[in-house]
Amino acid sequence: MKYLLSFLITGALLFIGEMKAQTNETKGQEPDKRPNIVIILGDDMGFSDMGMFGSEIKTPNLDRLSQCGVRFTNFYTCASCSPTRSVLLSGVDTHINGLGNMDEWTAPNQEGMDGYEGQLNDKVVAFPQLLKDAGYHTYMVGKWHMGKSPDKIPAARGFERDFSLLDGAGSYWDMTNFTALTPNSLFTEDGRYLTKLPKKYYATKTYTDKLIDFIASNHGDGKPFFAYVSYQAPHDPYHLPKDWRDRHIGEYDIGWDVIRKQRLQREIELGILPGSTKLAERMWFVPDYSLLAPATRALFGRKMELYAGMMENMDYHVGRLIEYLKEIGEYENTVFIVFGDNGAEGNDLGKMISGTPGTRDFLFFASKWSQTNPNAWGDPGSYVGYGPGWAQVSMTPFSQYKGWLGEGGIRNALVVSGPVVRREKGSINGGLMFVGDIMPTLLEIAGAAYPKTYNGNEMPPLIGKSWMKVLAGEAESPRNQKDYLAWELFGNRAILQGDWKLRWEYKPLGKSDWELYNLSSDPAELNDVASQNPEKVKELVALWDDYVKRNHVILPNRSPFEGLSDQLPMRFPVEEGYPPLINKRQYVPPQDMMTDPKK
């Protein structure tokens, strides 16, 4: 009896085991239908730089994604790169996730404070980790900029495979970086620090090659993948292969004023912006292009030619990725999210670092970055950025650019395409979207949950809202009129609720006081209406105070913008055609009244 019982139990267990194995096997044969996810992040790409957002720059592959998906025109990021990236990956405010300030600009009073580590801290979990836990392959290529130590690199934050530039920028051709104390860029591949770069390295191409390899290496195992394609392009320096440099020779000699007008016209025609939209004032320290000499126009124009080449080259490699996904039959099941990480770059990083002769970094630039001849622009050793005039073009029609909290610093173009999009293909949406929404959206797509605790740490609440209903066409915005977005970076601060935006910025770009704008009627922030709306200012300041309290915001006691008033010319309004002294053309008398002298 004892033996019989034992035999029956053993038999029953074997049967159950067999059944379970069969079930698992069946499950293993069923492909995971969850979509793949690809985030394409253009570094410093501006609001109007893609063709479908009004650009003259040719971006057919990004446009193709727009035509298959939705364009969002009211999408916000942070004002600079690492804060945006930290919010993207953690879904938590910068002042909590470690990027309360950029590592490069941490103020003395922020040193050592929680939320100001200058890297993505351990109080948050990066969503690639959660996607990995949920059964996704997780890949990253490109710029990281959220920590360099072994516990902060992509492999430590959930990326199964990576090929990453850990720094915020650097050469596209080699490992050269910008300062004497950080002469070399740091790269990792699959969690190991690289001693050298692959042969024939060019950032945008190599990142794409690597990602295709990553996808190929696991393709067919039934698991979906998430890919974070964090291109370095089109961030300065404008390094690009020769055959991409000369595709727009002379086209930008007409200048930033004309190109901005053309872009605005196209934005209106495409429906990106309402017909009543006006251009923001040209920054007062940016010269009127029509007053420049032809050679100066050509030189400035050349910089924009290179920028356009950077965009087009990036678009080409996006096209390679798309083609590859089509080839392996994954394109239709892939969600693409495309955006720029902040406003276009109007600052001259190279000059900021090396601008003072006799300094250590001037000497470093002399040895590593001194290829200043226009024919060398694009080569290793050249450092070209296009400056504030063209940055405003990239951010047409908005005011200001990267680093600032004008719309030109934080509002960017967003494209979402793929199987989760149920809206009309190629449609445009004006719902209020934020980079912090991406994490909850992707967790929902992947069927993953945001944990209350992770690795023993209690997780802060997510600040974003899932876009799933918006993408499905069930809602126009993930936010209601009461929801607000808030920013603080470098001491500049802003809050946005409904149509109203309150901002405080350092002089002279700001007023070092609160300014109020109604974005629905004035997206270019031309008219500060704070004095006419004191109650609204008070209401929004109260929200701002609430934001500061909730997120432990510590206003910096030093800022990259301190002393800017002394470096820029005095601010006067920019009026087209003023002064007539230099704008009036030669008077031509009537022909019949003209004569030669009598003697």
Partner: protein, 332 residues
């Protein structure tokens, strides 16, 4: 965070001025017996002017001021010449063009064989002025303004040139040694400049060729005799390379063939000679460039072969009224 606009403008003009400097190198320095020299056919901004002064010291068995290089076997010529000139770049049919004139001056001494006797003769004074007009036919369009110049890269550039010497130089019909040639002569040539790699000061490399055919009219009074010279074909080649932004060098070679001369019934035979040498160039400042070169024939074992070698020093002063104006304003 940012320097003032004025700095931006200044930086632009610095780049422009630097670009002009690099193109100053195009200015001419015609030297007989050594070819035109490297970087002779580089293009410049229309309106660019240049005055080259060329000093040369040569010796050999042919008159250095005679482009046909008619060899006098057993003779020994030495020449100390200076060649001032003037050149101007302009646009012709939207192509780069250059007109130039150069006048050899100086003295030539020769130990020549006259009626079997070794005789020393000397000539001095002005030679035949040489006029030249060249126009580009393949390559970038004329550099008519500063933006064109900023964007200029020669790529593969082919010109057509015509030269003509006017026989008004000093000539003694009793002497075999003369600085003037007492005949019309000239050439048709097709210079090529082929950019290899980057066109960035400090990194430029070019391969240059000048195939040309020289034509000579008769000299009806060459020591009382008639001298006829058949056309001569000449090819010169240069491999030039920047060493630094302002310092460059070139390997030079020249080949002559033809040019068979007949003095009454005496035939000198045709040339078939190579010369090789090198050139170093240095841009002294925005307006001035110095080059030093040496060239020597090397396949010259027979008495009737051309034997010649020489040093050449060129100083070229160039200017453009626009750049001069910018410099005046910048120096205020």
């Amino acid at each position: 965070m940012r320097k003032h606009n004025k700095y931006m403008y200044f930086r632009c003009f610095r780049i422009i001025a630097a670009s002009i400097i690099t193109l100053m190198l195009v200015l001419p320095a015609f030297i007989f017996a050594q070819g035109d020299g490297p970087r002779f056919y580089w293009k410049g901004l229309a309106g660019l002017n240049a005055v080259p002064v060329i000093g040369s010291s040569k010796s050999g068995n042919a008159n250095p001021s005679d482009p046909s290089h008619t060899v006098s076997p057993g003779s020994e010529f030495t020449a100390t010449l200076a060649m001032p000139g003037y050149a101007r770049m302009f646009s012709l049919f939207n192509r780069s063009a250059m007109a130039s004139v150069i006048v050899p001056v100086g003295r030539i001494s020769g130990d020549v064989i006259v009626n079997g006797l070794d005789v020393s003769q000397t000539a001095r004074g002005f030679g035949d002025p040489m006029l030249q007009l060249g126009i580009n036919i393949i390559g970038p369009k004329a550099i008519k303004n500063l933006p064109d110049m900023l964007r200029y890269k020669p790529g593969f550039s082919l010109d057509i040139i015509g030269s003509l010497a006017i026989p008004i130089g000093e000539y003694d019909n009793e002497s075999q040694v003369n600085i003037g040639q007492n005949r019309w002569y000239g050439r048709i040539g097709m210079p090529v400049v082929w950019q290899l790699g980057k066109w960035v000061p400090g990194k430029r490399t070019t391969l240059e060729f000048l195939p040309a055919v020289w034509f000579f009219s008769d000299n009806n009074d060459f020591v009382g005799q008639k001298m006829e010279t058949k056309p001569m074909f000449q090819v010169e080649g240069h491999l030039t390379r920047d060493f630094m932004e302002r310092f460059w060098g070139s390997l030079d070679a020249v080949w002559y063939t033809g040019g068979e001369a007949t003095i009454d019934t005496l035939n000198t035979g045709k040339l078939n000679n190579f010369g090789i040498g090198g050139t170093l160039g240095y841009q002294i400042n925005d307006n001035m460039q110095l080059t030093i070169g040496y060239m020597s024939t090397f396949n010259d074992p027979e008495p009737e072969d051309l034997k010649m070698d020489g040093f050449t020093v060129k100083l070229i002063y160039g200017w453009h009224k626009l750049i001069e104006g910018i410099n005046r304003l910048n120096s205020e």
